[in-house]
């Protein structure tokens, strides 16, 4: 049907389908390769020109086949570097573009529709924000509109939209019900994930890295607490523990990685024994395409089911089994009073006393001097703190570059740096003084919204130090707080307010425009919506489903669960009945009813040709029927015509109703008396 002459029906449907492909391509701008986007653009232009009648010939089969061959080769060449998932998405997009050029038969249209819908579904692998979901819903609407335009050619675009809108509104409650009730299954098999640029903290840390991260106002994760949110100076979100130092940068110790791999293979999770009261909280991590997760010290993964995804490490940090490619939600319990002294001390000590053989000579000298002045580890730390505070160290987002002996340059020449500089210098100094110390990278603080949740942005990235003190275990030391206490209490924005470097590279960020009250309101409202979206839509997993059922039904017995199934099916049935059982036709007024009853009585005896109106028929009856039948029927007809064509007042209508009733009864009686002769006719 799509053949040679583009008729108006297919014109609209083809244009809509093309528009849908343009929209999907824009939505999948990132994973789809540039040249495939160009191919798609060409296909859309060709299809649109053809549909609008600008061009009367489509591309020939041979051309498209040749193009397909070439494009396939190019894609195969790139596929290794793209990874399986993205390569597949690209392949599908490419096939759609070629098919769009060639669309001739009904089969082509069917395949295009289904492929477009599948591409749309794949879009959700890459984007899950509320805005993008809205955009993809719009794409879905356009695809469905193209389907409807094809089957309802007599409708204009607004009519189509109205009709489709009704269908969609009818389907929505059923879909939501299914979404809530359908059992959530675990993954059946491992799927390829998208290779994407990692965001957030990196595995290794050079002083200066975190300063760069601080220019981003992107969300890192959110945490919601069932009880009170801990104060800012306790909100140290641990992500990575770096125990290897080479004089320049810190990284995760290979030995530690190996150790954890072994434990994991033996399925022995390190669960610290909690002390003191615990507080339950939930983290929703944004996709970072990395393994680390966020937790407060000390957090325990309470649900063994969650431990399949969230593995607790021996440095009290959490790791995800797979790279976090979409929003990830996990529940933890936070025990602030638990000491960090439950790990294997000999390994910790061995790893955390390591220093490079050479480099930073001035620091080595300085620490040796300090060691002589101090009698205990505590005193040494106090001395270093005093040094930082008395020397007028500065906290800056724009530290100078320190390529050689960075600790020396920082401690004695520049004396200005970001948290990573301080952490790196302190940990190195402590290790030189024979105190095991390591750098912890993570986030600190976060923006509190009501009593519900904390949003932690990339600019909240932070690094601090942990030192092993014999009587307490690992103790958190934050040299940044010694120098810039406002960083810890009020966040980065306050701390660098004078410098004016907060999000300097991101001038359009809403977070930077906090001074405008209404803009800030909008930003916070969007954040709230996004939080609810993450929690209730993206994070609606088996646990949440169970909680929902529990809150509805109390206990989860087999009977109750089957009740849920039955009730949902019933609900769907009721919905369908409401939509589709036809409304009862308005009742006929009495005078119409009586007249038609009279007709039904007379017609078997005095047949009425189709073209006879009431006037014709009553004349016919008058001529052929006996007077006692014709009389009442005559009266009925007169009243019927009076009521039908003259629109009498309500009072006179009541009067005529009674007269009609009487006439009808007389007619019936008369017919009863004539029955034998009537049936003889």
């Amino acid at each position: 049907m799509i053949g040679a002459p583009a008729n108006t029906q297919d014109q609209l449907s083809q244009l809509l389908l093309s528009a849908a492909f343009v929209m999907i391509s824009i939505g999948l701008f990132e994973p789809i390769m540039g040249w495939i986007l160009v191919l798609m653009a060409c296909a859309v232009v060709i299809r649109a020109a053809y549909a609008l009648g600008v061009q009367s010939q489509t591309v020939s089969m041979t051309t498209v086949n040749l193009l397909a061959l070439l494009a396939g080769l190019v894609l195969a060449y790139f596929s290794v570097q793209l990874g399986l998932l993205v390569a597949m998405v690209n392949l599908l997009a490419m096939a759609c573009a070629l098919k769009l050029m060639l669309m001739r038969r009904r089969k082509d249209f069917r395949q295009l529709i289904v492929s477009a819908l599948f591409l749309l579904g794949c879009g959700f692998i890459f984007h899950q924000s509320m805005a993008m979901s809205g955009y993809f819903s719009l794409c879905l609407g356009v695809i469905l509109l193209a389907m409807m335009a094809r089957h309802g050619p007599q409708l204009t675009l607004p009519q189509l939209t109205g009709g489709l809108g009704r269908l969609l509104l009818q389907a929505l409650p059923i879909a939501v019900l299914a979404f809530m009730v359908m059992p959530r299954l675990g993954p059946f098999w491992q799927m390829p994930t998208a290779k994407s640029t990692e965001t957030g903290l990196a595995d290794r840390m050079k002083p200066g890295d975190i300063a760069q991260l601080s220019q981003s106002s992107a969300l890192a994760f959110r945490a919601s607490f069932t009880d009170n949110i801990p104060p800012p100076n306790q909100r140290y979100w641990r992500a990575l523990v770096m125990e290897q130092f080479d004089g320049q940068e810190w990284q995760i110790a290979p030995r530690r990685k190996w150790e954890e791999e072994q434990l994991r293979l033996q399925n022995k999770a390190f669960v610290p024994a909690p002390q003191g009261p615990g507080a339950a909280y939930q983290v929703i991590a944004e996709p970072s395409y990395q393994h680390y997760l966020f937790s407060l010290d000390v957090s325990v993964v309470s649900d063994p089911g969650v431990r399949k995804r969230v593995w607790p490490g021996t440095a009290y940090q959490l790791r995800s089994r797979d790279p976090v490619a979409s929003k990830m939600q996990y529940d933890l319990v936070y025990y602030p009073q638990t000491p960090l002294n439950q790990t294997n001390y000999s390994l910790d000590r061995q790893l955390n006393l390591q220093v490079p053989r050479q480099g930073n000579p001035r620091t080595r000298e300085w620490v040796a001097k300090l060691q002589q002045q101090s009698t205990s580890a505590r005193m040494l730390i106090d001395n270093i703190q005093r040094y930082f505070q008395q020397q007028g160290f500065e906290y800056t987002l724009r530290p100078a570059l320190m390529p050689n002996d960075p600790v020396d340059r920082f401690l004695f020449d520049n004396q200005a740096g970001f948290c990573a500089h301080y952490a790196s210098a302190l940990a190195f100094a402590l290790r030189l003084a024979d105190i095991p110390a390591r750098v912890v990278a993570g986030y600190q603080g976060g923006e509190v919204r009501g009593d519900d949740y904390v949003s932690i942005y990339q600019y909240d990235a932070h690094a601090w130090v942990e030192a092993w003190l014999d009587d307490q275990g690992w103790v958190r030391l934050d040299p940044t707080a010694w120098v810039a206490p406002s960083r810890i209490l009020y966040g980065l924005e306050r701390a660098v307010a004078e410098e004016g470097t907060f999000l300097a590279d991101d001038p359009l960020s809403l977070a930077r425009l906090k001074d405008y009250a209404w803009l800030n309101q909008v930003r916070l409202l969007l954040a709230d919506m996004d939080f609810l979206w993450s929690q209730w839509v993206l994070g609606f997993d088996a646990n949440r489903q169970r909680d929902l059922f529990k809150s509805l039904l109390g206990k989860l017995t087999a009977f109750n669960l089957s009740l849920v199934g039955v009730v949902s099916v019933l609900l769907v049935t009721i919905l369908l009945a409401v939509y589709f059982i036809p409304k009862r036709a308005p009742r006929r007024p009495l005078w119409q009813k009586r007249y038609h009853q009279a007709l039904a009585l007379l017609e078997p005896v005095w047949p009425r040709p189709r073209h006879y109106g009431p006037d014709d028929y009553v004349r016919h009856v008058n001529q052929t029927a006996p007077a006692d039948i014709a009389g009442p029927f005559n009266q009925l007809t007169q009243l019927y015509m009076y009521l039908a064509y003259q629109r009498p007042s309500a009072a006179s209508q009541r009067d005529t109703d009674t007269r009609m009733n009487r006439a009808y009864l007389r007619l019936k009686r008369a017919l009863g008396q004539h029955r034998p002769p009537a049936s003889a006719r």
Binding site: I113, I125, G163, L167, A178, L576, P582
Partner: protein, 327 residues
């Protein structure tokens, strides 16, 4: 061998379905589409759509991606809603057989099928109805309009006799093409296929052949005025009694009688079985010629005789008799 068996089985099956359909949807001149005669099943697109939903479910579960699952459930819910809405749309239609006309063997009969929209304030049916005569007739697509619309079936009529109108399949995929709604309707009709006219000289005979019942002595003819009768279609206008028309008494035509023995009869006999069709064709031609010339004639088919008369109704009667002769 296997082919033959397969064919037999197929035929048997077709016959069974035919019998079942005859019970379920008996022939009628007009059909209101409803649950008794509508069939509905996912179309090819619907099948692909279900496959897509399954794919989305697998992908969504494997990636633990709620939005993909939501999309999957939404598409399924949409399909469920479409099931009802496509049935409801199709069930609004009322299908009538239009006015039919007889035709000649070898012609193509055109039969109009009217698709009437519901009366009153209920919504009209929408979409495209494709109409096809079973099993391999030509397809005709009708785009429904707010008032009634019609499609024309073209049916080959190779042989004389009643037109073999098989079941007509109507189908519709509105609104989204996910479901195929269809019905197989059988229509009561009285389309007759006349023998193919074979040009031949008109030969009239004086009287019907022996053995036939002898009719009255008065034969309609051209010569002498006999009586007035209500005007019938096709009668020559110069026979109309214009005086009566002018007086407002209605339209009458004058009837004349010809003298007994004037040749007014078309005879079939004598003819052999082999010649029968040829002869019927010749008679068919002659009947049309005579009617066109507005001449009276009678038809003698041996056992069956039609008394002499003229006009279109008479022609129709005669041609029908020819069409049904010895069938």
């Amino acid at each position: 061998m296997i082919n033959a068996l397969q064919q037999r089985l197929n035929q048997h099956w077709q016959a069974r379905i035919g019998r079942w359909l005859d019970r379920r949807i008996p022939p009628a001149r007009s059909h209101q589409l409803d649950h008794r005669n509508i069939f509905i099943f996912p179309s090819r697109l619907g099948g692909l759509f279900l496959l897509l939903c399954f794919g989305l479910f697998l992908l969504g579960t494997n990636y633990q991606n709620n939005l993909m699952l939501m999309l999957c459930y939404f598409l399924l819910a949409l399909m469920l809603v479409t099931l009802f809405s496509s049935y409801q749309n199709f069930a609004r239609l009322q299908v009538h057989l239009g006015k039919t006309q007889d035709c000649f063997a070898g012609d193509v009969a055109h039969i109009a099928v009217w698709l009437n929209q519901p009366q009153g304030d209920s919504l009209p049916a929408l979409g495209i109805i494709s109409m096809r005569q079973q099993p391999d007739g030509e397809e005709c697509a009708v785009t429904l309009t707010p008032s009634s619309s019609h499609g024309t079936l073209s049916i080959d009529a190779p042989h004389r006799g009643p037109l073999p109108l098989k079941r007509v399949t109507l189908s519709c995929e509105y609104p989204l093409g996910l479901f195929h709604c269809w019905t197989h309707l059988a229509f009561d009709h009285d389309v007759m296929v006349y023998p193919r006219p074979v040009p031949s000289p008109v030969t009239l005979h004086g009287k019907p052949q022996e053995g036939g019942p002898n009719s009255s002595t008065d034969k309609a003819g051209q010569d002498e005025f006999h009586h007035l009768r209500e005007y019938q279609r096709g009668e020559p206008l110069n026979h109309v009694a214009w005086k009566q028309v002018a007086k407002g008494q209605g339209m009458f035509s004058k009837h004349f009688v010809s003298e007994q023995g004037a040749p007014v009869w078309l005879n079939l006999m004598p003819c052999t079985t082999e010649q029968l069709e040829q002869r019927l064709g010749q008679l068919c031609y002659q009947i049309r010629e005579l009617t066109q010339a507005q001449q009276s004639f009678g038809l003698d088919l041996g056992k069956h005789q039609i008394t002499p008369d003229c006009g279109l109704d008479h022609q129709r009667r005669c041609l029908r008799a020819l069409a049904e002769f010895q069938l």
